[in-house]
Amino acid sequence: MGIESVFPRTLFWLGDVPIRDSVLHTWIVMVVLLGIGVWAHNRLRIWDPKMWQLVVEYIVDYVEKLVVDTSGRAFPELVPYLTTMISFIVLANLLGMFPAMKAPSRDLNTTLALSLVSLGSWQAYGIRKRGFRAYMHTFIEPMVFMLPLNILGLVSRVASMALRLFGNVIAGEMIGAVMFMLVPLIVPLPLNMLGMITGVLQALVFTVLTLVFVVEAISSEEDETGVAHEAPGTI
């Protein structure tokens, strides 16, 4: 196999669009998540819940607590979106542990797509909360010549989130591939465990950054403290 299997390659073509193996793996992740959602739809119980329900509730509670800790207020409309994002990225990063599959986030296109979804989401939340003109006005907030700097800030946020996730995942996969070439027996195990830890951690970081940017776009006019343009609480 060698190290070239770490890089994504084109499997087949749908008309003019190349379908890579990382696209196939994201389809697998989507099917798994949708399957869990559809299966759990009418099986949730209030009294005497089963183990899987407790696991799912733990994840949702964790995201809710994260929203409250980061912004100081509870945004219940953000919790489904962030839970989906963190579940998708965790599954996508951990897919490399299964035998025939590799993590789809080792493709820069996948992580860039996730970053663009994140960018679109915080712009959309900001526009919906404040109106289109008021939100565009925040780009020239302190002075007019801050406009290129603010746009550059947007681009750098998207690029840094995409590259961080991509770099971590492909570094883990490459280390795994090189270790399998050298000593296939016991040595790849701790490195794969490290890869799993960084996969979950990077999913958390991606979600937390998305959360911070969405909260920053939503709330800086009408805080309870009455101070305008205050950056939201702690990160």
């Binding site: 800790d69 840094s160 961080r164 492909i170 570094a171 958390l204 970081v205 702690t234 990160i235």
Partner: protein
């Protein structure tokens, strides 16, 4: 291209990539160490907020780590997908 120039390109790329990785991972590691020391001190000082500090510590460590990942990315690009390899015929 002459094989002599190809060899020189390969040697220079390898040396630069090796030096870049070594130099680029010094500062993130040092700064992560400083963050961890400060976090541990404050966790010991106020055990009631230790859980919050630990949660934030991991997030901050991942963000600091990402600068080292950027260096690694450039080195991987130089090694495996070098845009100048075509000029040299490699």
């Amino acid at each position: 291209m002459l094989p002599d120039q190809q060899l020189q390109f390969a040697i220079v790329t390898t040396i630069v990539v090796g030096a870049a990785i070594v130099l680029g991972c010094i500062t993130p590691a040092l700064m992560e160490g400083r963050a961890v020391v400060r976090a541990f001190d404050n966790m010991a000082r106020q055990p009631s907020v230790a859980d919050r500090i630990r949660g934030l510590l991991f997030v901050v460590l991942a963000i600091l780590e990402s600068t080292a990942i950027y260096v690694l990315l450039i080195c991987l690009i130089l090694l495996f997908a070098n845009p100048f390899a075509g000029i040299f015929g490699l």
